[in-house]
């Protein structure tokens, strides 16, 4: 029997108390215990970026993070940045500029883009490409995604 770990996590501004198996990833806990299914499980090895969330202000791959390691930390998921009655400017820009195809990578792209714009408010195209290098889009819609992120501030 695995000894459970008592995890305290601030998720999208709300304090959560959970009892978890220490083997579980942050992604798994977000999706299955907290029912926040915006972060996606793609490669499960830190290569695709579909599971990107913002941990203590920084974009990370939640599949490569043990939930127990995040005890006392604060996490923001795509659910936390989406207003109840509309879209975040990054989401809006992706919709308007055709930066969405199947949508699987989109939530990760959104979180990576938000973290990027937070540290570099006026990014160059190279900044955007570098900031999104860890997010794979298998529809290969990169050009429009990069354009959409470049266009966020101008809208």
């Amino acid at each position: 029997m695995v000894k459970k770990f008592h995890l305290t996590l601030n998720v999208n501004g709300e304090q959560k108390e959970l009892l978890i198996d220490p083997r579980r990833s942050l992604l798994d806990v977000l999706r299955n215990d907290l029912e926040l299914r915006g972060a996606h499980r793609g490669c499960d090895s830190g290569d695709c970026g579909a599971c990107t969330v913002i941990l203590n202000g920084k974009a990370i791959t939640s599949c490569m993070t043990l939930a127990a390691d995040c005890d006392g930390d604060s996490v923001i998921t795509v659910e936390g940045i989406t207003p109840a009655d509309g879209l975040h400017p990054v989401q809006k820009s992706l919709v308007e500029d055709g930066g969405i195809q199947c949508g699987f990578c989109t939530t990760g792209m959104v979180m990576a883009a938000i973290a990027l714009l937070d540290s570099i408010p006026h990014p160059t195209e190279e900044d955007v490409r570098e900031g999104l290098a860890g997010n794979l889009c298998r529809c290969t819609g990169y050009k429009k995604i990069v354009e959409a992120v470049m266009n966020v501030e101008r809208k």
Partner: protein, 288 residues
């Protein structure tokens, strides 16, 4: 993943004690980007995981008093290295080495300590840190010891860390010279080095066009990061002409001990060592 006991010690002493108690069957976790991959794949099944992220002693980038050496805490993330103004100002080659690694999401998790302690032959920070003459500061139940980073690695995945010992920080001497890190990988981002070359020198005599205290360190072409000492001697033996640089680059290629693998053949890697060492030396000379 096999079950493991989980610990999150608050002090270095507590961490050492837990690690010693498991006598080699416990693994430290910081960023976890390497460890969790291996555990998910079933290649590692430690009996205990010790989260060292809460150890304040392992944090921070600071300029030390008196020596002016730079101390980089083992928990410093690759992204922090990439962005640190202190590192940019005096050790820009180190910042650019960090910038070549993985994605921002991984760089926000992965630490310099992990990059050293996992001891991958391709670890990008190792060649440049060794070229900069860095020292590993290690702490364990028996107290602190310091090891030249050059001596830290003992084989693929192996280091001098004993049971219960932790890497606390990497200390880099004050830089007076120049340094450069060049990485060769098929992709610009998200890729592991086929060859990585770190080159640094401490002094340069402009009249004689001669460099002093030259270090050429090769990554991903031997079981551990490798100093090309004969090539260094060649560089220091006279004025840094194009011919001498060509010779040194060829010598470095001969000194490398690469293997054939999915990323490159022995022949190709040797050729790339020659190209990168030449480029590195020319880059340093041209920046004088």
């Amino acid at each position: 993943m096999k079950p493991f006991d989980y610990f999150s010690p608050k002090t270095l002493a507590e961490a050492s004690e837990v690690l010693s108690r498991y006598n080699g069957d416990a693994k430290m976790i910081a960023g976890g980007t390497d460890l969790l991959l291996k555990m998910k794949a079933g290649r590692l099944a430690p009996k205990a995981i010790v989260n060292i992220k809460r150890l304040a002693e392992l944090r921070g980038i600071t300029q030390l008093p008196i020596t002016n050496n730079l101390s980089i805490g083992a928990l410093t993330t690759l992204e922090e290295i990439k962005r640190s103004p202190l590192i940019h100002q005096h050790y820009s080659a180190l910042a650019s080495a960090a910038a070549t690694m993985a994605s921002v999401q991984i760089r926000n998790l992965a630490t310099v300590g992990g990059n050293m302690c996992n001891a991958a032959p391709s670890a990008d920070l190792a060649p440049i840190l060794i070229a900069l003459n860095a020292v590993a500061v290690i702490n364990g139940v028996k107290g602190e010891r310091r090891v030249a980073l050059e001596e830290f690695f003992t084989g693929p995945g192996k280091s001098v860390l004993g049971v219960g010992e932790l890497l606390v920080s990497v200390e880099v001497p004050k830089q007076e010279g120049k340094s450069i890190y060049i990485k060769h990988s098929p992709r610009e981002h998200m890729d592991i080095a086929v060859v990585g070359v770190g080159v640094a020198y401490r002094g340069f005599n402009p009249l004689a066009q001669q460099a002093a205290d030259v270090r050429i360190v090769l990554g991903a072409v031997a079981p551990t990061p490798l100093r090309a000492k004969k090539a260094e001697e060649e560089v220091m033996s006279g004025s840094l002409t194009k011919e001498r640089i060509e010779r040194a680059a060829k010598i470095a290629a001969e000194e490398s001990k690469p293997i054939d693998d999915v990323r490159g053949s022995v022949w190709y890697r040797r050729k790339m060592v020659e190209v990168l060492v030449r480029r590195g030396l020319l880059g340093l000379v041209n920046s004088n």
